[in-house]
Symmetry: none
Subunit: 204 residues, 4 copies
DNA sequence: CATGAATGAGCATTCATTCAT
DNA sequence: GATGAATGAATGCTCATTCAT
């Protein structure tokens, strides 16, 4: 690694770095990683394609940075909610709300994290994939605690319920912004109710 | 027009055509449309790259065929269920079951339909996209009928609920096969219960 | 590795392969490996640059092929000479002659072997480098045998003498063809005499 | 003209100039001119790539400076030896010694002069090439004088013998430092003997 | 049916170089 | 003296596609 690259990773002192990585996120989100050319990213920024390489060492590294920003915070917020006091139903509502909130300011990053992270090279894919698995586990543990507390029926398949919840939430970045009237608050409220009622399961 | 071209346009009387398109589906599902090279498809089949062009005129056409097969049947099955007799809750369960059933034998096709269809050229993308929108509408109409029938609370946001249901179901092709014990029947049963209970909403 | 590439290496059934690799040898010899563009090689052949990649998988692989052809035969011929009967002085003359003879029909290949092989990636560089070291050893052993037989003085530094002989010979590809009247036979004869007399060393 | 440019042209009053050019020599020697990036030179020095341009106007100019330093002195020393008194055999020994002595403190420069000078642009290549040709001529004239003096046999091909001597000597920078025990003095002594005895040619 | 050979277009990346600070 | 930022030009390489056989 050249000394320039070394410093870049260590510090990221580049003034325009955030702007550049946001452009990458936008283009990756729109066209997918392999469908996105570095030229397209440069066009968004109004700079030459070669100039991008002043900011990242490779397209793959740019994807990794976008994915990291798309994935970060989820686990922390979820941990805080799960570890806090309160009933499982309240935690589920809070988890859903927290999970949807990055839609507001980081939709592209989240979308890329969800859809494109498996195109990362092995090592960073695993690193980034761990985030997703930890998040799943937290959701699932909250559900399991809810079952133990008698808030949810004993027959609940917590694994499938977790996948249902995450599927529901993770689809949102795909249509958010195209559904008139669907603010993050409204989505979180409605999804929270659907989830809680579905999990309680009067049917059983 | 040569007889070869004629046959191709007429629509796939080639002996190995199903085998070929399945290979394409597999590779598109694994690597994404732009990440998949025609070479990779040929490797799966054990033939030369150039030979693929005996079966489809372009990579885009292959994607279109995969997407058509991935999307077909959904609307028909959903229409039959929605038009039939019975309560809304039963219809919702049936819709979910019908929506998940192609996982068994067409997972790759469905995955490609869900994830890669927006890489199609304009015209065929719209054609294929119509399928998705019609399906959404059917789901939503069943929910609205359920509200009118008093099965679901009047406050239910049928649009968001539809998106929740589809999000939950459409995530399944992404993890189906990796979750031990999760058969289509079990998933459909659990998701059906979650959905119905969530929609009924004892909370409200 | 794609199946196409696999077959290529295994069999090399390509009709024009020798022609292509000879063009690479010429351009590498003229401009050095890093100074040679694949475009320049294509120009020599009158084909498009991309078409080269039908014949080799990478520029590095082309260099390796050229180096292999530039280095092959030397060891075999030297072994045959060293193992044969006869006096050391005769063997030295024969070794020199054998070492110079590829000038006639493979000057570019030998030049590339001598000058550019250290630009090969680690593994193939070592493989190719072994050839050179084996050759050195054979030369040196013949000299040592000559010392033991009393043909050369005991004070002869066989290591340095080997390096002297090879240096003298290996410079020839650099000027062969530019020195009027210097045929391979004449060079071999003169260099043989210089070597033998130098080694015998009446001075000592 | 700015004073900075003036100084640069005038010729290197920069404090760190010797250090910079030595780094260039080292990198050129290791990787070849085209294989060496200016970044690699900067890395050796611990400065930024752009800062190099304070010391030379272009990579080609750096090569020229290295080549000049690698080639200078040879002709002067050779002229002094050839013009001096003494027998041809002594002059040959002295020429070889003088030719090898820069190995001690300028190996990289000499190596670059020998191997990379043909990558110079036309004009400076010719300038630098003249040095080499003059040196050859001096060697050859000493040999021819030796023949006329009866020190060497009349049949000696002085041209080929010159090329043999220079080939032998010019290979040394390639392996000097890797052969344990091979000091410049020992190499010069051994090569001198080999050369003188070879030239005298008891065989003839 | 299938393939060997070839190609045009595009792509990520490198690199020497410039210049305001 | 030295650097951060940027660039133009090239470079090695990939890939979908064509076509004669």
């Amino acid at each position: 690694m050249s000394s320039v690259a070394a410093r870049r990773i260590a510090g990221n002192t580049h003034r325009r770095a955030p702007e550049i990585i946001e452009a990458a996120a936008r283009v990756f989100a729109e066209r997918g990683y392999h469908g996105a050319s570095t030229q397209a990213i440069a066009d968004v920024l109004g700079i030459r394609q070669a100039s991008l390489y002043y900011y990242f060492a490779s397209k793959e590294e740019a994807l990794e940075q976008v994915c990291m920003m798309g994935g970060e915070g989820f686990v922390e917020r979820a941990v805080a909610i799960a570890a806090g006091p309160g009933a499982a139903v309240d935690k589920v509502r809070a988890l859903i709300h927290a999970h949807l909130s990055p839609l507001l300011d980081r939709r592209d990053f989240v979308l890329v994290f969800l859809r494109e992270r498996h195109h990362l090279p092995d090592e960073s894919r695993r690193r980034v994939g761990r985030l997703a698995r930890r998040l799943e586990r937290i959701f699932q543990e909250v559900l399991e605690a809810g079952v133990r507390a008698g808030e949810f029926p004993a027959e609940l398949d917590c694994r499938l319920a977790t996948l249902a919840l995450l599927g529901m939430c993770n689809a949102a970045p795909g249509w958010y912004g195209k559904e008139p009237g669907a603010t993050v608050e409204r989505i979180a409220a409605e999804f929270g109710r659907l989830a809680v009622d579905g999990l309680r399961g009067e049917t059983r």
